[in-house]
Symmetry: C2
Subunit: 138 residues, 2 copies
């Protein structure tokens, strides 16, 4: 089982913003540096997605960059990850278009997988974005 690489990186972007001085934008250059392997193109797409979700906003100008648009202590992790995963189907038959599986009429597994999927997100919902960053040991 795996999350999208874009979800993984989106969570890291948010953690970098949580770690930064509150309200002080972090430049895309600084984010790219911290995220090592991530291309500028992918980073821009991720920031666009986070802004569309209302979690970040972009500040223009010389000292501009990306900043949190929501209090991280109010952002539930499960709801956030669920939205970042968006259209991902856990298995083929969860796709909006369905699938041609011949077992559908006798299938108990779908309901079990749906419960497990919900339990995954409910587990994450016990935490907030703010709790993802713990102070480094001195």
């Amino acid at each position: 089982m795996r999350l999208l690489a874009s979800t993984d990186f989106a969570l890291r972007v948010l953690m970098l913003l949580v770690r930064a001085e509150p309200g002080r934008p972090v430049s895309v250059e600084a984010l790219a540096r911290e995220l090592g392997g991530l291309s500028r193109h992918h980073l821009h797409k991720i920031v666009q997605e986070l802004t569309a979700l209302g979690v970040t906003r972009t500040v223009r100008g010389a000292s501009g960059g990306v900043v949190l648009a929501a209090d991280p202590a109010t952002v539930r992790l499960g709801a956030l990850v669920r939205r970042l995963e968006g259209g991902q189907a856990l298995v083929e038959c969860f796709q909006p278009g369905g699938c041609a599986c011949t077992l559908l009429g006798e299938c108990g597994l779908r309901g079990m997988l749906r419960e497990a999927n919900d339990d995954f997100y409910a587990s994450l919902d016990r935490y907030t974005l703010a709790e993802c960053v713990v102070p480094a040991a001195p």
Copy 2:
């Protein structure tokens, strides 16, 4: 979040075997027919994996094929799916080799994702392989 396509198909193979007459091998041809889009090559790999896990065995001969090697009422779904997913890392830093994430020292997210991952499998463990197949309505 998604499972491997091979896990999805492995579960369908097992459900087809649960549905079949107990102890009567199902031919690879019949399985391939029921699984529509799946190539014979992939089907062979999946059956090999299930046999290596001790869940199926192969019977040679004219009326040979694949048969369950375990009582499906004793096969816990969570443990089964966890083994089928094997080396899949939920996020990059769960890979055996780790990753170069600069946040590792201040990261609370890893633990939360690990708990959610465990809760997903614990949820599936409430069910057995036998329960995945429900009798078709008459």
